[in-house]
Structure formats: structure tokens, C-alpha cells
Amino acid sequence: MLSKIVRTISNQLILFILVFGLYIIMHGHVTPGGGFQGGAVIASGVVMMIVAFGSSEIKKSLRERHLSVVESSGALIFIGMAFAGMGTIFFYNFLVGTPVFGGIPPTGPNPGNVWTGGVIPLMNLGVGLKVIAGLSAVVLAMALFSSGEEIEE
């Protein structure tokens, strides 16, 4: 566990890291980034918390079984989106050009309208969840291992 200054700043900063990571995940198809990159940003926030508070403290709030559920549901969102297009074909983009979330965006260049990708942002979300949970679990396991503790089963 580091000093009080570091812990306080980390507590404030994690919010911004989470928001930035989610932004990268959801805008993967219009700006550089995507599910993996945004997930890695959020996982690096988890690393920051582990450094600031110590792995045994983080272990109490970030449990391995919960991470496993999040990881599986991320993968399920991804493949579920692929299966949802099964009416036409696997991976068919059935949401593009539909007025979910209000209005069909015009085709052609636009200033970063999120609702142009159909299922792509949702798939990015699935990948993002999987990467967040997976990388956090890996980092936490390594931190616990190096501090000589056992990860709970």
C-alpha cells in the first residue's frame, strides 16, 4: 500500500480512466481504438489501483468468480450478436440502418455518429468486457502470486 496522497489521487483518477476506456470501446468503429484497446485502458486502471492499494486489498472487491462471469458474458454478447443475424446469415449486420436509439444516420461522411455501425459497437462492448475481465484477472493473479498469496477458487 502506497502513501495517502497516491491512494487519494488514484481514487479520483479511476473514474476518468473508466470513462475514457468506455469511450474508446464504444467509439471503436469511428475513432481509433476498439474493444481490446479500451479494455486494456480500463485494465491499466485496475493495475493502478493494485499498485496504490496492494493486491490483498483489491482482492476483496474484485473477485475471480465475478470476473469469470463478466468474461463469459462478454464472449456471449459477441457471439450472440453473430447468431442474431442468423435470419439472413451468420454475422449479418441486422441493426445497420434501423432507427434504434432514434433516427437513421445519413450515409456518407459524418462527424462521428455512433449509430452508423449497427451491431459493431455492441460487439466492441462484448470484446471490451472480455478484455477488462480477462486482463484484470491475469494482473491480479500475478500480483497475488508475487506477494505470496493464493488466488481464491
Binding site: 469469470s68 462471469v69 468474461e71 463469459s72 458474458s73 464472449a75 456471449l76 457471439i79 453473430a82 447468431f83 443475424g85 442468423m86 439472413t88 446469415i89 451468420f90 454475422f91 449479418y92 449486420n93 477458487e153
Partner: protein, 522 residues
């Protein structure tokens, strides 16, 4: 039904993928529920494979393009090259898919009881399904880059499963060797794909084959691909990982990893026949494959004779048997540009080599399962410590006898059918090769006789008085394979005509594979 047929190529890959992802969630409900779901999903996939097999043998190659408006739309209008991810399933792909699925189903049923008392079961089944996805995707894909992706899925899942029993020190070593070899070979494949992509701006196998010019760069790419796949299929001299990995992998997994080697062999054939076929004199590369095959056969069996660890012994035999497949198909490759020789004996040699793939996946997989059944009951793999197990493990003994006779090529078993095809046709190509093959078969018989005598015969040993037959699910798993072996033994002609010959034709007929995607090529 029509819907299922059209969408079966993707469903066969996607349904196990779904199973892999829901396994960690549904194992919270209960282990029994998870097992039921997994077995029923894999049975559904088996059903789809059968539908697709019938369809492909009736209507020829089936193309499935992901994300297009209709599945067959590989080449959209106004496009010169295929741009979408696609699966292209032809005779040899579906043949390999059939092999993989039968082995996977048997291995899954066998594993139900085998891992019942271990920890981390949901990870086991998750990785098992991913391993299956990797193999079947590798066999179905029509795209070089996806070939790499599925190769990686297969390797990572296989390495995780090989080191599943982490309480055994050598299991970790086996898994580590496997992941190193896989990573090296996957990087070779990626490098070769990079070379091809930089030259032609294409990734689709059919489109690449269509515009192949066979420059020096292509030759380098071919060498990289061949080395990578030979490494993965454990051909001598790149076989060093196989005994360690096969020996320590859990029971259901050894046949799966062995079948994944066969999938790499399929990738080797696909590259040499389809991607590069017809653009160069195949005699040289054919001889390379033949020499690799003969080396694998001979060195594999010679290393096997003196092993005392039952699974290591079988692992060396697995290397030796891979040699037969390489030999048969290598002869076909060597005479590919000579139509007379091809019709006279080349096709038969290839039939033999390809028939041997499915035969071997069955009986070799079954032998691995019997070895692990012995380990399950007595806790050792050392042949010197075994004896008299035939008294208590009757079914395992019978299954072992069938497998041992089949692998040694004793009539009337299926091993004899495929080996006879190889002997006769290879004899007309080069008699010496055929004699080596027969000699290797004899040594195989000798070696399995040794295993049989030391493990099953003799008086009942006091230490093993309490040994009982293995649980029912393990018997059913082995029984599925034995049923297939017996069917193939009784009707070898039928099997060769209906499923092996179309696979051979699909390999030889490069043009129809290209036409499946690129439209009619003038």
C-alpha cells in the same frame, strides 16, 4: 432442413464456440447440467456434419460467406477479389471434419467420468470445445489468415489441456513444449501469409491459387508453411514435442491433440495441392513429403520399441503412423503432373494415405484411451509394473486387442485395408518404400504384442486384485470408436468409395476449388 444445410458450415463452428462460452456460466447451475448441455450440443454438431457430408457428396463444394446477403456470394459484384471471411468446404475438408467430430464426441463422452473428481472442470470443457473449434475451423476455412487464427486457437487450447493435470510435474513440461512448438510454427505461418499478402494483396486460398505465379518469394513461403505444418503434425525430425505432450495429456485430450496433428496434415495437403498445385513440378516436393514420411515411420517405430511408459510408446507409434499418411499422399503428389501414373497408382496411394487418417484417428485414439483407462485404475503408466489386468478389465482388454490388431495392419481390420492400398500402389512407384512400410508394420505388431503381454496377460497380481472395470461413460467413449473401427473393417470398399475417393478427388482437382469462389476460370 434446407436452412440447416445452407448454414451448417458456420453452425458446426459456431455452436461449439457458444458451448465454450456458456460452459463457465452454466456450470454454476450444476455439473450434471453442464455435461448434458455439452454432450447434446456436440451431438447436434455431429448431426449437422452428417447433413453437410451428404450434401457435399451430392452437390460438391459449399461456400459460406460471413456477413453477405446470401451465403454463396463469395465474390460480390464489381469486386475483382473475394473480400469477406468465408468457409469453403469440399470433399477433403468434410472428410477431416467427420474424423474430428467422431473423435471429439468419443473423447467428450469418455472425459465425463474421467475428470469427475478433478478441479477446474468448467475450464476443461471450455478449452475442449475451443480445441474442437480450432480443428474444425482449420479444416473448413477458405482463407489463409483464418487458417492462422484457428491454428492459434487450437494451439492455445491444446497447450492448456495438455497441462491440465498440473499436480503432475511432467504435465506442465508437456504443455510448455507444446505451446513453444505451436507458437514457433504459428509465427512461421504468419510470416508466410505476410509474404503472400504483400505479393498478391489476397488472403483467400482460392484467389491466391488463382493468381499464383510461383516466384522465389512464393517458394520461401511454401518452405515456411511446410516446416510449420510438419512441426505441428510431429513428423520426424520435428517430432520431439509429441511423446512428452501425448504422454501427459489427460485421456480425452490425447486423441484430440493427435487429431489436431491430422488437421495440420490437412493444412499441409491443402497448401501443397490447392494453393501451389499445378504451378510447379510437384515431383521434388512430393519426394520431400515421401522422405519425411519414411523417416517418421521408421524412426518413430524404432523409438517406440524400447519404451516402458505405455503412453510414450503409443505416442511414438502415432509418429510412425503419420508417416504412412505422408507416404501415401506424397506418392500422389510426386506423380500429380503425370496423368497416366496418377490414374494407375497415384490415386490409390492417396486413397490409402487419406483413408489411413480416419482409421488412425480411430484406433490410435482408442488405444490412447485404453492406456489412460489403465492409468485411471492403477495409477501408473510403467509397463514393468503392470500385469494380469485382463482378469478384471475385460472390456478394456477387448478394446485394446481390437486397436492393436488394427494398428498393426492385421486383416480383417481397417488398418489392413488402408495399409494394403498404400503397399500395393507405393510398390509400383518404388518397391523399396513399400518394403520399408511393411517392415514398420511388423515392428508395430511386435511392439503391441509386448504391451499386451506385459499389461493384460499373466496371473492376477496381488496389488491389482481390487482393480475394477472403468466407469460406464469411459466404456461408451471407447465403444463409439470401436463401433466405427468395426464398421470400417467390414465395409472398407464402401467407405473408400463413398467418403475417401471424393476427398482424394477434391485434393487433386484444384480447378474446382478455385471455381467455387472465383467463378468459372477460363
Amino acid at each position: 432442413m434446407e436452412y440447416l444445410t445452407v448454414h451448417s458450415p458456420i453452425l458446426i463452428v459456431a455452436v461449439p464456440l457458444l458451448a465454450a462460452f456458456i460452459t463457465p456460466l452454466i456450470s454454476r447451475i450444476g455439473n450434471k447440467f453442464r455435461d448434458t448441455v455439452n454432450v447434446s450440443l456436440l451431438s447436434f454438431v455431429t448431426f449437422l456434419i452428417v447433413i453437410l457430408t451428404i450434401d457435399i457428396y451430392a452437390n460438391g463444394t459449399r461456400v459460406y460467406t460471413l456477413g453477405a446477403s446470401v451465403p454463396e456470394l463469395a465474390l460480390p459484384e464489381n469486386y475483382m477479389v473475394p473480400v469477406r471471411i468465408m468457409f469453403q468446404v469440399d470433399g477433403i475438408s468434410i472428410f477431416m471434419g467427420l474424423t474430428t467430430t467422431v473423435v471429439a464426441l468419443a473423447a467428450l463422452v469418455y472425459s465425463l467420468q474421467f475428470v469427475k473428481n478433478e478441479t477446474g472442470q468448467d475450464r476443461f470443457y471450455s478449452l475442449f470445445m475451443l480445441l474442437y473449434v480450432g480443428m474444425i475451423g482449420l479444416e473448413f476455412t477458405g482463407d489463409m489468415f483464418n487458417l492462422f487464427v484457428f491454428l492459434e486457437i487450437l494451439s492455445i487450447a491444446g497447450a492448456g489441456l495438455a497441462s491440465y493435470r498440473v499436480n503432475m510435474a511432467d504435465a506442465v513440461e508437456g504443455g510448455f513444449k507444446y505451446i513453444i512448438i505451436s507458437a514457433v510454427s504459428a509465427l512461421f505461418v504468419l510470416f508466410a501469409i505476410g509474404i503472400l499478402y504483400s505479393e498478391y494483396n489476397l488472403l483467400s486460398i482460392a484467389a491466391l491459387a488463382h493468381s499464383m505465379q510461383f516466384t522465389t518469394l512464393d517458394l520461401i513461403a511454401l518452405a515456411l508453411l511446410a516446416i510449420a505444418f510438419v512441426m505441428k503434425l510431429a513428423g520426424v525430425p520435428l517430432h520431439m514435442w509429441a511423446p512428452d505432450t501425448y504422454a501427459v495429456a489427460p485421456a480425452g485430450i490425447t486423441p484430440m491433440i493427435y487429431t489436431s496433428s491430422a488437421a495440420s496434415m490437412y493444412a499441409l495437403y491443402r497448401v501443397t495441392f490447392t494453393l501451389y498445385g499445378g504451378h510447379f513440378d510437384t515431383t521434388a516436393i512430393g519426394w520431400v513429403v515421401i522422405i519425411l514420411g519414411v523417416l517418421s515411420m521408421f524412426i518413430g517405430v524404432m523409438m517406440a520399441i524400447h519404451q516402458t511408459d505405455i503412453k510414450r510408446l503409443m505416442a511414438y507409434h502415432a509418429i510412425s503412423q503419420s508417416g504412412y499418411m505422408l507416404l501415401g499422399v506424397g506418392v500422389g503428389l510426386a506423380v500429380l503432373t503425370d496423368p497416366v501414373a496418377l490414374a494407375n497408382y497415384g490415386r490409390d496411394a492417396m486413397n490409402g494415405g487419406i483413408f489411413h487418417i480416419i482409421n488412425n484417428a480411430l484406433y490410435k485414439g482408442m488405444l490412447f484411451l485404453t492406456a489412460e483407462a489403465i492409468f485411471f485404475r492403477i495409477g501408473t503408466r510403467d509397463l514393468n509394473k503392470m500385469g494380469g489386468l485382463g482378469h478384471n478389465m475385460k472390456w478394456t482388454t477387448i478394446f485394446f486387442i481390437i486397436g492393436a490388431l488394427a494398428i498393426s495392419g492385421i486383416p480383417p481390420f481397417n488398418g489392413f485395408a488402408s495399409k494394403l492400398l498404400i503397399y500395393e500402389s507405393v510398390f509400383r512407384f518404388n518397391p523399396l518404400l513399400s518394403i520399408i512400410a511393411m517392415f514398420v508394420s511388423l515392428v508395430t505388431l511386435a511392439s503391441f504384442t509386448k504391451v499386451f503381454y506385459s499389461a493384460f496377460t499373466g496371473p492376477e497380481m496381488p496389488a491389482f486384485k481390487e482393480v475394477r472395470e472403468v466407469p460406464r461413460s469411459m466404456l461408451i467413449g471407447m465403444g463409439i470408436m470401436v463401433a466405427c473401427i468395426i464398421f470400417f473393417s467390414i465395409f472398407p470398399g464402401l467407405v473408400v468409395d463413398t467418403i475417401v475417393a471424393p476427398a482424394t478427388d477434391a485434393l487433386i482437382d484444384q480447378a474446382s476449388y478455385i471455381n467455387g469462389v472465383m467463378g468459372a476460370v477460363p
